[in-house]
Symmetry: C2
Subunit: 115 residues, 2 copies
Amino acid sequence: MSSEKKKYTERQQQIAVFANALAHPVRVAILDLLHSQPCCYHGDMAEELPVANSTLSQHLKVLKDAGLIQGEINPPKTKYCINRQNYTIAYTLFACFFEDALETTLSQEGIIQCE
Amino acid sequence: MSSEKKKYTERQQQIAVFANALAHPVRVAILDLLHSQPCCYHGDMAEELPVANSTLSQHLKVLKDAGLIQGEINPPKTKYCINRQNYTIAYTLFACFFEDALETTLSQEGIIQCE
DNA sequence: AATTCTCTTCGTATATTTGCGAATAATTTT
DNA sequence: AAAATTATTCGCAAATATACGAAGAGAATT
């Protein structure tokens, strides 16, 4: 009962998942915060970002489900940090994706390397 | 009456726009097709992809609005191709974004270069 | 035990996304 | 001029995303 028509490759779906996580500016802003320090508490982010507390929780969940961040819950505080392993995977997927399109101009300069 | 609280930077918004364009697997698949050839007709894509014609048009519009592709309309046919200029911008934004987070492991190896 | 602090979940409202078929537009072919 | 070809737009339905305040959970403090 599986294949009526070709669906999408794992790679295509994985790119979409990571891209979807970055598809809202507040989530990019959240990650920017986590780039500038090893970890960050929910409350500290809430002060910096123009969304309500509950909304922030939702966005953090999206990022966590996509695998880009991980949370350490020690009530009443929650500490978040980047998931470096998946970040590396995401970086490679995006780099190779764009390299595919731009290889004629970029690969010659040795800026990026795929496979 | 402008700033009650900081909104998002242009960069954060631009990343979100590009990411949103890649946030659906069929759009990644569309771009994959355009990577493998200089241009492609709507009809040729419709044969390869598991979506209806009208749905394909919508996704193409999303990609076009984000600036990742451009269309050349010669009715009854429409030819699409990658927008290389914006592709380069997108590539740079994503590379620098991930580099920010991974710089301790990647920048030392000279894989990526920002600024 | 009650209060406080922090964060998540729930409930709700609104907007956007995704999908398809039918109808439309624009050209080429018959 | 009629028919065929190709792609977009329209109209609709269903699902998902976004946002907030209120309510709830979990631990520390009073």
